[in-house]
Amino acid sequence: MGKFKKGGSKELPEISTASLPDIVFMLLFFFMVSTTMREVELNVDIMVPSAKEIVKLEKKDLVSNIYVGVPMRKFAKTMGTEPQIQLNDQFSTVDDIQAFIAAEREARKEELRNKLTTSLKVDQYTKMGIIIDIKQELRKASSLKLNYSTRETAE
């Protein structure tokens, strides 16, 4: 019955850390692939409203964003505290929207241009007046696909 050795060396063998870099690299690649870098710096405070019947917005490269909200505190002196429109990186007015849509279309490949969706990221306390204006401008620019950005309601 001497098949099993008893005792043996009391010291625990050291765990090999040679595979640690591999594990870390794996994690690293996961995050590198799943990362989307923030494209624009927000100049307005936005807390989008919540809703239940939401859909996921697919094909992020075919989405152009329009932000509407109250300017952040550092801009309060120059821009006031009324909700403002932000296109790309700067404050804009309703009249700039058509040019913005045209530029967004220009930046896409020709066959994808009519698939462009506009995502409205609007603060929940904004009044509808400004949004009605934006919608009119979008219709004039015949950019008819619209997405109201919302959070999912926590149930």
């Binding site: 640690l20 870390v24 009044k127 919302t150």
Partner: protein, 191 residues
């Protein structure tokens, strides 16, 4: 004579990888954009096209004022009642004279069925809050989804989202939900 190249110590590899990992961890945003999808109506090409006349009983007029109060067909409602009201409006279960007419339509899978001619009309004040607007849209979408789920359950014992495309089309024809947003009155033309 072949000289042995000394092995490079790779124990710091992990540190480098960790550093990169932490950078990506911090800079990552994994939010998925979600939202309510809508299609805007195109601007009518010619001025002053007469809007098709719709009978009053076929319209569910939803008005939202600047204090975010809801008026549905002349009745003040709270937002939580809107969904039931809309469903009742579209279904018209008792064929009452105040609720929309129905039209006999042939729909694949269902055969000849009565389809509501109801139309939801939504009008906001410029002072309505965006939050309220989204809530109304959300309730209407929820009502529409519940109606579709109901029909799909009756027929196939499945939810609407689980049906195939043809079945979804059929259900969509069965319980149509047309939402028309009133043209803003003081915008357009005079700018």
């Amino acid at each position: 004579m072949a000289r042995k190249t000394p092995e490079i110590n790779s124990s710091s590899m992990a540190d480098i990888a960790f550093l990169l990992l932490i950078f990506f961890l911090v800079s990552t945003t994994m939010d998925i954009d979600t939202g309510i999808y809508k299609k805007l109506p195109p601007i009518p090409e010619e001025e002053e096209i007469d809007a098709p006349k719709v009978k009053q009983r076929n319209v569910l007029a939803i008005l939202v004022n600047r204090n975010d109060d809801l008026l549905v067909n002349g009745e003040v409602l709270s937002i939580s009642q809107l969904r039931e009201k809309t469903k009742e409006f579209i279904l018209n279960p008792l064929n009452s004279a105040d609720l929309p007419e129905k039209k006999l339509t042939t729909i694949p899978f269902f055969g000849d069925v009565m389809v509501s001619k109801g139309l939801v009309s939504l009008q906001n004040d410029r002072g309505t809050s965006y939050e309220m607007y989204i809530k109304v849209q959300d309730e209407l979408a929820a009502a529409s989804r519940e109606l579709k789920d109901e029909k799909a359950m009756q027929k196939w014992n499945k939810k609407y989202a689980d049906l195939n495309e043809e079945q979804q089309d059929a259900v969509r024809d069965y319980v149509p939900m047309q939402i028309s947003e009133a043209e803003p009155k003081n915008v357009g033309g005079k700018k």
